[in-house]
Amino acid sequence: MKRIYVNEEYCIGCRLCEVYCLTQHSRSKKIIKAFKEETPRALARLVVEEEGPLSFAMPCRHCEDAPCVAACITGAMHRDERGAVLCDEERCVGCWTCIMVCPFGAVQRSIAGRKAASKCDLCYGEHTPVCVMHCPNEALVYEERT
């Protein structure tokens, strides 16, 4: 299965991945509108960590043996037919068990509006996730690794 991987050597900490992720998961999917007009503002599904010259984006790994899927108390966290781990935000009650068990810290709390776990959905419906598409330095790649 194709996953998003990060080459931390080339992550320049610009955080454009976050900007485009947020836009993709906004209601309008229009960048300026998503930031300036939509409230609550959509959440970026990945976080860039930075310290000194080191930085990297941390999207969900869509683990083979996903602890969040195993631990989810409602069944909202599930694996789709592609193998992607998705959170059905309608079924999520915001208990944050997934946050407790994800060793990557890749699940976030969405609390503006209805509480629900918020995570990378590999940009469902897009050919390539937008974070990868817009990474200016190709630090994020979308590929199959064995």
Binding site: E9, Y10, C11, Y20, P53, P136, E138
Partner: protein, 505 residues
């Protein structure tokens, strides 16, 4: 601190209807032009530090930024130009030599832009490079004046031993840029691109990083006045050696890599203490004559068992023709001539802008002189110093070069925006810097791809131009000035270039 008399050179125009305060510009500017104010959720810009590198504008996801010249208008004065005044303000403030990066930016004539190429019409057919073979392969090195063959049982046998040669798939090389002046990722990109394109790159005076040894067959190792990074393994690894006498951007003076750029890795590669300024002397202290140069050439040949071509790089200056003749007679396998507009990581602005001669004139003079002396075949000529396009390549070769050196164009392919601030070590494009936060910005995979694209594109264009002239090999173009005509040039210039005026014939 007293008043800074300099007004900012640039203006950052931020379209507030587009700015989403994502702070990409804040993070990307190593000069701290942009700052985010969390309280008001607004990004402000202080353009006094802006160098006009466009990093922010290029990455801005909403295209909210435009960088413009800050057009502060002085009372019109054709003599005391704003540039002259700014230099005076800077100099009276710092008391130091003004530095610049990249090549001369003054409005001297660019002769390439006054040369036009020929094309076949009716009387001789042009060649379609997509349908017929077209040879761009170029051999650099000494050619024998005559060859001896003997008739053996299996046919003719070549008796003359041919000298060591470099074979280029296209008549372009990446010219010298040292590790230290540019980042490791930039060096790696050049090395990998050279390999991919079947050409060579040049270490400059930066030594050779151990991880780049594998690109040895595509490497020209430079030996300059500081002898930085020179050791037997270095010489043995490279495909050719180059004695650097001078550089177009700063003829007659040495080099100066500030201590801040001499990181642990650079210090190991150059074999100098970490954090110390790397000072290359103006002259080689063992070369005060052509005879001395000959000794160094042969010392290097000796050291490498006469298996590698040894070239000499000089800046294009007055009397370049007899200088080149002397170099050829000293035993060099190629002469690299670097013109007035050649780039640098750092040079005194006054030197960069006022010393040397344009490469077009130098090549024409040298080619003419070597032909007249009957020694043109003994040495190859590589022309450098602002080759901006495939047309410049073709014109340089028609003027007499065997191949060209490109560096600025290669840097631009990797992202350089010619802000001329290489010497600050804060290159926002991750090229002319050793700051680990900035060097990451040049992903060598992208660098290689872009460089290889450039070489491929230029090669295709060169083939088109050659075909148009009815030539099917780049060799046939070398020194073939009949394919050039001058426009807007006076008699003296036409003579110096050895060409006719357009329309005259």
């Amino acid at each position: 601190m007293s008043l800074n008399l300099l007004a900012s050179e640039f203006q950052v125009v931020r379209d507030d209807t587009r700015c989403i305060a994502c702070q990409v510009c804040v993070r990307q500017c190593a000069n701290d032009v942009h700052a985010y104010d969390a309280e008001s959720d607004v990004v402000y810009s202080d353009e006094t530090r802006c160098v006009g590198c466009h990093r922010c504008a290029t990455l801005c996801p909403t295209r909210a930024l435009t960088i413009r010249l800050a057009l502060h208008e002085f009372r019109p004065n054709a003599n005391w130009t704003p540039a002259a005044l700014y230099n005076l303000y800077k100099q009276s403030q710092t008391g130091g030599v003004l530095l610049s990066g990249m090549g001369c930016d003054q409005p001297y004539p660019v002769y390439f832009d006054h040369l036009l190429l020929n094309a076949s019409q009716v009387t001789n057919p042009s060649i379609d490079p997509l349908r017929e073979p077209m040879e761009l392969r170029t051999v650099i090195g000494r050619r024998p004046g005559r060859v001896e063959v003997t008739q053996g049982p299996e046919g003719l046998r070549l008796e003359t031993r041919l000298g060591p040669h470099l074979v280029l798939e296209t008549p372009i090389l990446f010219s010298a840029m040292s590790y230290g002046s540019i980042s490791y990722n930039a060096c790696l990109s050049l090395a990998r691109a050279a390999k991919e394109c079947g050409i060579l790159y040049n270490t400059g005076e930066g030594g050779l990083h151990p991880t780049l040894y594998e690109y040895g067959p595509w490497t020209i190792a430079q030996v300059a006045s500081g002898r930085f990074g020179v050791h037997p393994e270095y010489l043995r690894t490279a495909a050719a050696l180059e004695i650097k006498i001078g550089q177009g951007a700063k003829p007659g003076i040495g080099g100066h890599l500030p201590g801040e750029k001499v990181t642990a890795d650079v210090s190991r590669t150059r074999m100098i203490p970490e954090g110390t300024d790397a000072l290359s002397p103006a002259p080689h202290h063992d070369i005060y004559s052509i005879e001395d140069l000959r000794q160094l050439i042969y010392a290097l040949k000796e050291a490498t068992n006469y298996e590698k071509p040894v070239g000499v790089k000089v800046a294009a200056v007055h009397h370049i023709a007899p200088i080149a003749s002397g170099i050829a007679r000293a035993g060099a396998d190629y002469i690299a001539i670097d013109g007035l507009r050649g780039g640098t990581g750092a040079a005194p602005t006054v030197i960069r802008n006022h010393v040397g001669i344009p490469i077009e004139l130098a090549i024409a003079a040298v080619d003419q002189r070597l032909r007249e002396e009957g020694i043109r075949h003994q040495v190859s000529l590589i022309a450098g110093g602002s080759i901006r396009s495939s047309a410049d390549v073709v014109k340089a070769i028609a003027l007499g070069a065997d191949a060209v050196y490109i560096a600025t164009a290669a840097l631009v392919a990797m992202g350089c925006h010619l802000c001329q601030k290489c010497y600050t070590g804060k290159c926002n494009w991750g090229i002319a810097t050793q700051d680990p936060y900035l060097t990451k910005r040049l992903n060598p995979n992208i660098g290689v791809r872009r460089l290889a694209n450039l070489i491929r594109a230029w090669s295709l264009e060169i083939k088109e131009m050659l075909g148009g002239m009815g030539l099917n090999a780049i060799e046939s173009l070398r020194g073939n000035r009949d394919h050039l005509r001058g426009v807007g040039l006076n008699e003296v210039e036409l003579n110096a270039l050895g060409i006719q005026a357009a329309g005259a014939a």
